[in-house]
């Protein structure tokens, strides 16, 4: 193990960490925003509301993230209409392609989490809200969603960690995030063990910090007391 090489590569790797964090943060936040309405629709009792989100979730969970990324980054350029379209400056950029793909991918997973959380809200609490004269929308906004957020939070934190690991795939579309940066440095130094080891440790550190952050959030939202029913 050549420690001085790791030390030399560290500034570059930290640049990669920043890009990794940007990818994860953007896709997980945007994914959550899209996933909440989709999860609500997925949990609907009407089949025509339920079926479209079901199809979306099935497609995105049934295919690898790598294929989805290649479809967006390499695939869309096949169509003349896309290349002439107004979105082309974004769809040409690997960063936005990665963000779009990761968002669509994680939306499917988070929507499934939202559905599970919504269905886990005790029926008695919803009935109580209805009995107090709350409308359906009020019940959803003030009773069901706040409860579901607390139920779904641990699963959401798992999904964020999975997206952190998924972001490594962005290196295959020329992005220099942590894995991409590591591969570039290795191409120059021919020391794969040292550099990949350093990158692995950095990933572990990020995951550790994320887990700590979510634990803190759970404490703030009092997830445990909510579960116990006090």
């Amino acid at each position: 193990m050549q420690w001085d090489v790791i030390l030399q590569a560290l500034p570059k790797l930290l640049q990669g960490v920043v890009l990794t964090l940007e990818l994860v943060a953007l896709s997980c936040i945007a994914g959550l925003i899209f996933a909440i309405p989709m999860g609500i629709a997925r949990a609907s009792t009407r089949w025509y509301v339920r079926s479209l989100p079901y199809g979306y979730i099935f497609l995105f969970r049934g295919t690898p993230l790598l294929v989805q990324l290649f479809l967006v980054y390499y695939g869309l350029a096949q169509f003349e209409a896309v290349r002439q379209g107004p979105l082309w400056p974004y769809l040409r950029d690997p960063f936005w392609c990665a963000v779009i793909t990761m968002t669509m991918h994680t939306t499917a997973y988070i929507a499934e989490i939202v559905r599970g959380a919504l269905q886990a809200v005790p029926a008695g609490e919803i009935e109580a809200a209805r009995a107090l004269g709350m409308s359906k929308t009020q019940t959803l906004l003030f009773i069901t969603l706040p409860r579901a957020i607390r139920i779904g939070l641990p699963a959401y934190s798992n999904e964020v960690i999975l997206m952190l690991k998924g972001s490594a795939l962005a290196s295959t579309v020329t992005l220099l995030e942590l894995t991409g940066m590591a591969r570039t440095i290795i191409a120059r130094t021919y020391l794969p063990v040292e550099i990949f080891f350093a990158a692995g440790v950095l990933y572990l550190l990020i995951a550790y910090v994320l887990v700590l952050g979510f634990k803190l959030l759970e404490k703030v939202l009092r997830v445990d007391t909510g579960q116990l029913g006090r």
Partner: protein, 230 residues
């Protein structure tokens, strides 16, 4: 329907390679996961520590990084081993590296699934085995493992689906599975969307086949049990 430009047989061969890779990694992963779970539930603190370290470290680092590390990181070690064995050009093939990396990742997650299932076997069964004078190995082989299998199956099924999608990552080190074959077809035909879409459909159908297979396995494993009504 879709014009494959004569790449149909190549894609079929790639599909076969993906299936082979997934099954080999599954076998390795099951062995590692079982070993990890037995270590984590054992009474020796050092084994508990090793098991915990394995599942934490491997789960915190992206699968892609493991694939790259297995392939590029073992070159020197394999050369040293090869020189010692008298075959200096010894190296890991992309297939072997893929099986090792994916098996390692599957094993880390399977450790947790198996551990949960092991703890779900009533302690009375173990004690009954002890009272009958069975050896520890026999208790595990005859009493605990057959019962644990049933409880671990749904979790393992999920992990297998993830594993199958992760096989796409091995295309990065040049193994000729579905993704690599589609990339070759894309370079020749200049139709990225078509071929990556076909790849996505192949993965989707593999997922569906796996889902059906798992359904039957679960039914087989839980025969004689009434599904618990909550």
């Amino acid at each position: 329907m879709i014009d494959l430009h004569g790449f149909g047989p190549a894609l079929a061969a790639g599909t076969l390679m993906t299936i082979k890779l997934a099954l080999c990694a599954l076998v390795l992963g099951l062995v590692l996961g079982l070993a990890g779970a037995l270590a984590k539930t054992s009474s020796s603190w050092i084994l508990v520590y090793i098991g915990g370290l394995y599942s934490t470290v491997v789960r915190g680092i992206p699968e892609l990084l493991w694939v790259l590390l297995m392939y590029f990181g073992t070159v020197n070690a394999m050369r040293a081993l090869g020189t010692w064995l008298g075959r200096p050009d010894l190296e890991l093939s992309p297939f072997a590296a893929g099986v090792l990396a994916l098996g390692l990742c599957f094993g880390a997650y399977a450790t947790e699934v198996f551990r949960g299932a092991l703890l779900a076997v009533p302690p009375g069964h173990r004690e009954a085995g002890l009272a009958l004078g069975l050896s520890t190995v026999r208790i595990y082989w005859r009493i605990i493992l057959p019962q644990m299998w049933r409880m671990a199956l749904p979790g393992l099924g999920n992990l297998f689906m993830i594993l199958m999608k992760d096989t796409a990552l091995v295309s990065v080190i040049g193994l000729e599975e579905i993704m690599r074959r589609s990339q070759i077809a894309v370079t020749a035909s200049k139709q990225p969307f078509t071929f990556f879409l076909v790849a996505a459909l192949i993965y989707l159908s593999l997922t569906i086949v796996a889902m059906i297979g798992l359904h039957f396995l679960e039914r087989q494993a839980s025969r004689g049990f009434v599904r618990a009504t909550v």
